[in-house]
């Protein structure tokens, strides 16, 4: 038995519904004890399949999944879901509509042998004891989520697995609950694997983020690194609405159509490369007329402009804070505010 501080070890697993198109393709990830890890990715990249493979609802074809050092799944072995030390929070919580809250929470416990004090502690921590007599249709979205979490946590799972658990909540509630849960998880030292398409959620909650694309993790890093130094175009686009600019290396700088940028990576070749420039690294001015504003949107406290390069029709996004007098149709110039960029793999 392998035993270290790794709670979840997934090594090169493969899963496919149709042999020609694997959903998970040599997928690997490790989650350490007490860590909050998020697997982030768009719809259809295999997130739900991964979730179902870890909790045992799907059998994998190759590789292995271990939880707390014990083998859960491999090509020749499959531990049924009911025997796995994995707590699961489903997207819609999957609370049983014909049971009240109390019965939902006690459902997974062995009635003759369970830690009553621990259950009381969880119930208090999640503030669900005053909901015990209610049925699921009498609960708000936030209450449902707390009940679902209590139902899983009372079983003392080694790993808590969550599938887009905030997607059905409105934005304000989502932020409140996120903060709440972060405190609860850190207090309990829970090991959590969150599966989501929401980058904001992933960045605000996680210790580490794995970006899932076409069945593989293409970057596994801290939220800071994922945001500031995305390694792939797809990550840059989805996380920070970034611009991918093509440029030529020259004297340690990258020359692009907008201007010069500096990257931390050493470039030896003189071939064109792609770099990631976030919208807030650029700004508009009235001095030039090479660009035309085609769209304008007020987004999370700043003004986001999409401008078109009139020579080649390339679109660049630029975000600016504070009032300004730019509007759609204006001919404008683009200035670089911050020239630090990072290298991007556009393949």
């Amino acid at each position: 038995m392998i035993k270290d501080n790794k709670i979840l070890q997934i090594e090169e697993i493969t899963f496919s519904y149709n042999r020609n198109e694997p959903i998970l393709d040599d997928f690997s990830i490790d989650v350490n004890e007490g860590e909050f890890v998020t697997v982030l990715g768009d719809s259809g990249v295999g997130k739900t399949t991964l979730f179902r493979a870890i909790n045992g609802l799907e059998k994998i074809e190759n590789g292995y999944i271990r939880v707390d050092g014990n083998l859960m799944s491999s090509s020749f072995y499959h531990l049924p879901p009911e025997k796995r030390p994995v707590g699961t929070i489903f997207q819609d919580y999957a609370l049983f509509p014909h049971f009240n809250v109390e019965k939902n929470i006690y459902y997974g416990l062995d009635k003759r042998n369970f830690d009553k004090n621990f259950v009381d502690e969880i119930v208090n921590l999640l503030r669900v004891e005053n909901l015990f007599d209610r049925y699921i249709d009498q609960l708000s979205g936030g209450q449902r989520q707390r009940v679902s979490l209590a139902r899983s946590l009372v079983r003392k799972p080694k790993l808590l697995l969550m599938d887009e658990p905030y997607s059905n909540l409105d934005k304000n509630l989502r932020q409140d609950i996120r903060r709440d849960l972060k405190k609860i998880f850190s207090k309990m030292g829970s090991t959590v694997l969150l599966i989501t398409h929401d980058s904001e959620e992933a960045l605000s909650l996680s210790d580490k983020i794995g970006y899932l694309y076409k069945g593989k993790i293409i970057q596994f890093d801290t939220p800071y690194e994922i945001f500031h130094n995305p390694l792939h175009k797809i990550i840059a686009k989805s996380i920070s609405n970034s611009n991918i600019l093509e440029g030529t290396p020259s004297n340690g700088k990258i020359i692009t159509k907008i201007g010069e940028f500096i990257i931390s990576e050493k470039i030896t070749s003189s071939n064109n490369i792609s770099i990631n420039v976030r919208p807030n690294q650029l700004s508009l001015d009235h001095t030039g007329n090479k660009y035309e504003i085609v769209e304008e949107e007020f987004l999370e406290g700043s003004q986001l402009y999409l401008v078109k390069d009139t020579e080649n029709n390339h679109i660049i996004s630029i975000s600016m804070i504070g009032e300004n007098d730019f509007s759609v149709g204006d001919k404008v110039g683009v200035q670089i505010i911050n020239n630090n960029a990072n290298l991007i793999d556009i393949s």
């Binding site: 707590g87 819609d92 509509p97």
Partner: protein
């Protein structure tokens, strides 16, 4: 004012049988107790209860796996099987009984085959309880099956996933999650089955099993002079009320809706097992539809062969077809129209009027057809002799008995109409009439059509009401089949039975295979 007057008159008409029977009983309450404590009545009661229980259990055992296999697995031809499995419902019980007697009777077709190949002796008697259970189960299991198909279609597999990830074993998941979630559907289907069995006259009469309906019929036409008819009717009504009460208790305690927006509605892959399950999924429709139809075809061909002519087989059949279609169509039209008006009044929520109207609309559920017929016979003979044995009484009987069947889908369609749609129509400049036409009429049409088709089929097949309330000399396919079958001239029933099944079977199949069933929320 006109609406209130209409509602009051309509309610009184619908409650006529029940008021009449209970007033008569109350005036002779001592006689009533003397009568019901007698040994024969006890025996009839036990027979009826036993028959109901066995049919409900067997129908549930057939419907549960069948609906699941057809709706939520990749069973081959499942798309067609969903509709085919409902077809036994198109057979009138007396046709099912005659054909099953021919198949499984002591010297029936099964005996002939077994005897020929294995030299076995006569089969055990098919008459009595066992035959009645088999015949009525085959005919009524679709009532549970249809509801279960709808439930399984919406059943969220995420509930099963959640249960298993919470450490529950497969048996625990079945007993605590799956069964309670489908239980309300089984209960409401069982209610229909129970009421059908309690009301059935044709099958139990041909299979010589003494139940309430047989006792009522025999006493009505026996030499004793109607003694005890109303008393047995009232016991039958009490049993129906009891069944309705149990079903309403099950329903009020249940919460079986899905609160999920991302319900897991996947189809279970059975692998190679799908080919092994296929024959099992086919058994109910083979036994309940294919074999009876083949028997009828065999009788039909034999009839032509022996008689060497079509004359005897088709004797009077064309006038019977015409009269059956005409009376069923007119009745369906009148009943559907009245039901729609009633639903619209109920929807208006005019205090006590809407409440009473809603309750009395379902009165037919608690009244077996033969009870409605008897009470109308007594009532018209005693008070309105002029309409006795006219089409008015016949249609009135159909109305009281079949109104619940049509009012349920109409109400379901109308209640699904979001009130904000009407408001939206008003704000878009449409007046009351145009809004009513564009919103209420158009959106409730699928439910009204379904209700109309359902009541048309029910009128086609109905035996006791037609037999007792029809004007003298008026014959339908149902009554002509009955007159031959009750004399054991089964072969003479072939042509009429086949036509009846064809007329009832086509809309049944089309309804189940069409998305109309989904539109009315079934």
């Amino acid at each position: 004012m006109l609406i209130i007057f209409w509602a009051i008159i309509f309610s009184i008409i619908l409650s006529l049988p029940i008021i009449y029977i209970f007033l008569k009983i109350t005036f002779g309450i001592n006689l009533f107790f003397d009568f019901i404590l007698n040994y024969n009545i006890l025996k009839i009661t036990i027979n009826s209860v036993l028959l109901v229980l066995l049919v409900v259990c067997l129908a549930t055992l057939i419907s549960l796996p069948l609906a699941f296999l057809n709706v939520r697995t990749n069973l081959p031809f499942a798309k067609y099987l969903i509709s085919i499995s409902v077809l036994p419902i198109a057979l009138p019980s007396y046709v099912m009984a005659t054909t099953q007697i021919e198949l499984w009777g002591p010297r029936g077709i099964a005996y002939d085959i077994l005897n020929k190949f294995f030299g076995t002796g006569p089969l055990p008697s098919f008459y009595g309880l066992s035959g009645s259970v088999i015949v009525l189960t085959l005919i009524t299991y679709p009532y549970i099956y249809i509801g279960l198909c709808a439930t399984f279609r919406r059943f969220d597999f995420q509930m099963i996933d959640a249960s298993r990830t919470l450490g529950a074993s497969v048996p625990k998941t079945f007993s605590k999650i799956i069964f309670p979630l489908v239980m309300p559907t089984v209960a409401s289907g069982s209610l229909l089955v129970s009421l059908y069995v309690l009301s059935d006259f044709g099958a139990v009469a041909l299979l010589r099993f003494n139940t309430f309906t047989i006792a009522i019929f025999n006493r009505m036409y026996s030499s004793i002079g109607n003694y005890g008819v109303l008393e047995i009717c009232s016991i039958a009504i009490l049993f129906c009320f009891f069944i309705l009460f149990i079903e309403s208790r099950t329903r009020s305690n249940s919460r079986y809706f899905s609160n999920s927006n991302t319900a897991n509605l996947k189809i279970l892959d059975l692998g190679y097992w799908r080919w092994i399950f296929l024959p099992f999924a086919l058994i109910p429709s083979i036994l309940g539809f294919l074999l009876p139809v083949l028997v009828l075809i065999y009788w039909f061909i034999s009839g032509v062969y022996f008689d060497n002519s079509f004359d005897n087989l088709f004797k009077n059949i064309f006038s019977d077809i015409l009269s059956t279609i005409l009376i069923s169509f007119v009745s369906a039209l009148i009943i559907t129209l009245l039901a729609t008006i009633a639903v619209l009044i109920i929807r208006k929520k005019i205090r006590i009027i809407s409440f009473v109207l809603e309750k009395v609309s379902y009165i037919g559920l608690s009244l077996p057809g033969i009870v409605v017929a008897m009470s109308l016979v007594f009532f018209t003979i005693n008070y309105i002799d002029i309409i006795y044995q006219t089409f008015i009484v016949l249609i009135l009987g159909y109305l009281i008995s079949f109104l619940p069947a049509v009012i349920t889908p109409v109400k379901s369609s109308v209640s699904q109409i979001d009130p904000s749609l009407e408001e939206a129509s008003y704000t878009l400049g449409k007046g009351k009439i145009m809004t009513f036409y564009n919103i209420i009429v158009k959106l409730s049409t699928p439910g009204v059509i379904y209700g109309g088709i359902l009541v048309f089929i029910l009128c086609l097949k109905e035996l006791p009401l037609t037999l007792i309330l029809s004007p003298l000399g008026f014959s339908t396919l149902a009554t002509s089949i009955w007159s031959s079958a009750s004399e054991a001239f089964f072969m003479d029933t072939a042509a009429a039975s086949l036509i009846l099944i064809l007329i009832a079977g086509i809309p049944t199949y089309l309804f189940m295979s069409n998305d109309l069933s989904k539109k009315v929320g079934l």
